[in-house]
């Protein structure tokens, strides 16, 4: 089994060392795996995704994506990844299909091919009727689907999703789960952060528990559940972290005080 993501001793300090977001994180994600990183607000999830998607520079340690070092060759990493952010951030100067066509153009895909892929993705994600709509006319769930389409338009092999279901109603969340399962069955490596245990349990091949910038446990959902008499992921997390997923230190920034 090949490794899609390799993280070793990863550290991230903010504010000149006053805030320690990651404290020697070690983690491997396999090729084609659906991996969920789960932890409370401030655990370091967003910082981990930020480093892996080249938007955050680590203070120490090593991180590779598809075998490429995120610091030494950030351009090479960006070519191979798709990113769905925590809050939808479409280009509001462009309409829905233009968001996809231009994003494809940034990856060197010609307009005709980009338009074909965009139309296909909008159909698959069931927002075809919004093709020429302004992005402000989309609901939260539709904007999140647009973000998924944008992450897929250049056909990356690894997709990162940072708490993609936060703020979505149950119906939109279920629809998104269906889409994510489909992406997984297509063979893509999916790395998703969440602080919903049920979401991680439903979707992932393996779960990594993270808190205070460190990995607490890493295994399949079934093996993790088997660690406690009540078979609850939440109970096992509390037994490791000493707090539940609703506890948080620093909003949703992935930062904890050093």
């Amino acid at each position: 089994m090949t490794t899609a993501i390799h993280i070793q001793g990863l550290r991230k300090e903010y504010a000149d060392g006053k805030v320690l977001a990651l404290n020697g994180l070690d983690l491997d994600v396999h090729d084609g795996e659906f991996f969920c990183l789960i932890g409370p607000n401030g655990a370091g999830k967003t910082t981990t995704i930020g480093i892996l998607t080249t938007r955050v520079l680590p203070t120490g340690g090593v991180a590779t994506v598809a075998g490429i070092d995120v610091v030494r060759d950030s351009v090479g990493v960006r070519r191979r990844i798709g990113v769905v952010p925590q809050r939808p951030n479409p280009d509001r100067s462009l309409n829905v299909v233009e968001n996809l066509v231009f994003h494809a153009a940034y990856f060197g895909i010609r307009t005709r091919e980009a338009r074909r892929r965009a139309e296909e993705l909008l159909a698959r994600l069931e927002i075809t009727d919004k093709t020429t709509a302004k992005v402000d006319q989309l609901s939260g769930g539709q904007q999140q689907r647009l973000m998924i389409a944008r992450a897929l338009i250049h056909e990356p092999s690894i997709i990162f999703l940072d708490e993609p279901t936060v703020g979505l109603d149950p119906s939109a969340r279920n629809a998104l789960w269906t889409i994510l399962r489909e992406l997984h069955t297509q063979g893509r490596t999916i790395v998703m952060t969440t602080h919903y245990m049920e979401e991680a349990n439903q979707l992932s091949d393996r779960i990594g528990f993270i808190d205070r910038g460190q990995l607490l446990a890493l295994d399949t959902p079934d093996n993790l559940k088997a660690q406690t008499p009540d078979g609850s992921l939440e109970t096992f997390f509390i037994s490791l972290a000493g707090r539940g997923l609703d506890a948080g230190d620093a909003g949703d920034t992935g930062e904890v005080a050093a």
Partner: protein
């Protein structure tokens, strides 16, 4: 329940996908895609662009280039000094606004610039593309204002288009300097500070940028003649005078060109550094 398992290696569609992703993309191609996006957005906002770039210079032209001369309040070749200055302001402010407003919004609450920061080029290229777009928009603004100014002001003593190369050089330099200033301020200020920035930085820059009076005329207030040299607009205004009305007294062209080159190097370096720090935490 976990998602269905599969073997990615035997999945033909995935293999094809990964091959397409692994194909390198040239930086130039990504750069032009970024530029094309900005040109599409600019074209869509053309009416707002024209209003933004022409209203203020036109008001100045009507008052200082048309009404005051007609009333007899201006003497000699004031219009010859005013026209290049007005042009300098137009192209400088257009370039500045073309970069700084989108930058403030893109880095704002929704972080819209992320789709471009994920493009497979070093992030500095995303900033450099904004500079090129600013140069383009500033040049267009100059081309719009020049014939209008000529129509409003009538024949202008000493105005010549003989030195096309020099005109082009000072235009490109002026627009590039102000695009770089726009980039620097765009990554430094937050959306709610834009009004503050205009009152504190842009307004004094406009009034003490030797746009509405020639720098050589400031010899009557020597300390001010030296103090205004910290203002980049002085070199744009005087460079335009040196290129368009060379027979009218102006700062030596070589000074204004050298100063703009120096300013461009310093401000662009600072702006790119700040941009990178804002783009990558």
């Amino acid at each position: 329940m976990t998602a269905a398992r599969h073997d990615p290696v035997t999945d033909d569609s995935v293999s094809a996908r990964q091959t397409s992703v692994d194909r390198p993309v040239s930086t130039a191609r990504v750069f032009f895609a970024l530029l094309r996006r900005d040109l599409v957005v600019s074209r869509r906002e053309l009416p707002f662009f024209l209003v933004r770039t022409t209203v203020q210079p036109l008001l100045f032209l009507v008052v200082f280039g048309y009404l005051l001369p007609k009333m007899g309040f201006t003497r000699g070749n004031y219009q010859s000094a005013l026209l290049p200055g007005i042009l300098g302001v137009s192209l400088s402010m257009s370039s500045f606004q073309a970069v700084t407003f989108p930058m403030v919004m893109d880095f704002g609450r929704t972080n819209e610039i992320e789709d471009r920061l994920l493009a497979p080029v070093p992030v500095e290229y995303v900033a450099l593309e904004k500079i090129v777009n600013g140069v383009f928009q500033g040049t267009i603004a100059g081309l719009v204002i020049l014939p209008i100014a000529r129509l409003l002001m009538g024949p202008i003593d000493g105005l010549t288009f003989a030195h096309v190369g020099t005109i082009l050089l000072v235009t490109l330099l002026g627009t590039a300097v102000f695009s770089a200033i726009g980039l620097l301020l765009g990554v430094l200020v937050e959306a709610q500070q834009i009004g503050f920035m205009f009152s504190l930085v842009i307004a004094p820059m406009l009034f003490f940028g030797c746009a509405y009076y020639p720098w050589v005329g400031l010899h009557v207030v020597p300390w001010m003649q030296y103090l205004v040299l910290i203002n980049p607009l002085v070199y744009v205004s005087e460079g335009m005078r040196g290129a368009l009305t060379p027979s009218i007294p102006h700062m030596p062209l070589i000074w204004s060109i050298a100063a703009q080159l120096l300013l461009l190097a310093v401000i662009l370096t600072a702006a790119l550094n700040r941009f990178k720090r804002r783009a990558i935490a």
